[in-house]
Amino acid sequence: MPSLLRKIYPILFVTLIVFISVTLLIFTESFTSAELQARLQQQVEEELESMFPELDDSVDNEDSEVYTLLAGGETIGYAFLAVGTGYSGDIAILVGLEDSETVKGIIILSQQETPGIGDRITGDGFTGQFTGLNIDAVNFKQDGGQIDGLAMATISSEAVIDAVRDTAMEKVKLIEGVE
């Protein structure tokens, strides 16, 4: 009997270790994921408030994933997330629309572009250019739009521009469909 135990002991031991590990991780994850959700929500709300200072309420339209932004019961704009594929990974962009055709502003929520080159897309010099543009004008100047791309960071700039324009066009249809 002890020899049988000696044979299965290594297997039992590793199983036990894995079991402890999994339990510990599930416990930690349930704790941190709540924190993460709350943080993301708060970040989006703060950015929206800086974009629309008069904002006092918002409605989350779950089907279209568009926030309708309200001030004193009046609709003052719309907001949604756009995701672009950059040089190294996804770029998440929060887009605010003033009405169904004008961009109020964009904010880069997360990106992993090359430091010093591609990550300049987060700067005001780039994102500021979107403010007040008609959705159709969200394109490079040489392609008939009104935006100057960043030198040496064409892929990153294009990813943001394409994501904003394409997602905006898609969401506008949904917004107009609701009204």
Binding site: V18, S21, V22, L25, I26, E29, S88, G89
Partner: protein, 191 residues
């Protein structure tokens, strides 16, 4: 298809695992003194990357995502890679002794090679599809082999070169890697 090819070329040349992502540096500076061992190591890594990417993709798609336990990926992937390497080693011993002599010692090192875990994590983070994962794995592996082979050729010459005493060995290998990295950054405009 063109997307897969550009992903493959991008992983091999532009986002080269050694020169740009700094993955798999231990064999780069350790093994790469002889051309033949560099190529054997590269081939072994490419093969394991391919198998591991396929296996982890299946596990992620059919186990981790349905049960919403994606956060377990690190633990699962490292165990999968370790067991795969063991299985491959057993398989090679049983089938071909010559092959075992050529690759055996490298296989043991591969479990803790960051390039293999790196490619599986990268595939998961980018949520690549199965063909994309395979293209990325093969591209990364071939880029790894290429740079390992180039470096071994240069280091064979560096051994006899008359460099300052403090620069001999690793420091001069790092400076060589700098120049190689600069040369490879020229591929950046390709895609």
């Amino acid at each position: 298809m063109t997307e897969l090819i550009s992903l493959f070329v991008g992983m091999a040349l532009i986002n080269n695992f050694i020169l740009v992502k700094f993955l798999g540096l231990c064999p780069f500076f350790g093994v790469s003194k002889k051309l033949s061992s560099a190529v054997s190591m590269g081939a072994a890594v490419t093969f394991v990357m391919f198998i591991a990417s396929t296996a982890t993709w299946i596990i992620t798609r059919y186990i981790l995502i349905p049960f919403e336990v994606e956060f377990m990926d690190i633990v699962i992937y490292i165990l999968v890679i370790a067991s795969l390497v063991q299985i491959i080693e057993l398989f090679i011993i049983r089938t071909s002794f010559a092959l075992y002599n050529a690759f055996g010692i490298y296989l043991a090192l591969i479990t803790t090679n960051c390039a293999v875990l790196g490619i599986t994590l990268l595939n998961a983070r980018e949520s690549y599809s199965l063909p994309e994962s395979i293209a990325a794995a093969l591209g990364a592996g071939i880029g790894f082999t290429l740079v390992l082979a180039i470096m071994s050729g240069i280091r064979e010459r560096l051994e006899i070169a008359d460099s300052p005493k403090s620069m001999k060995g690793l420091p001069v290998a790092f400076i060589t890697a700098t120049l190689l990295g600069l040369a490879f950054s020229g591929f950046g405009g390709m895609i």
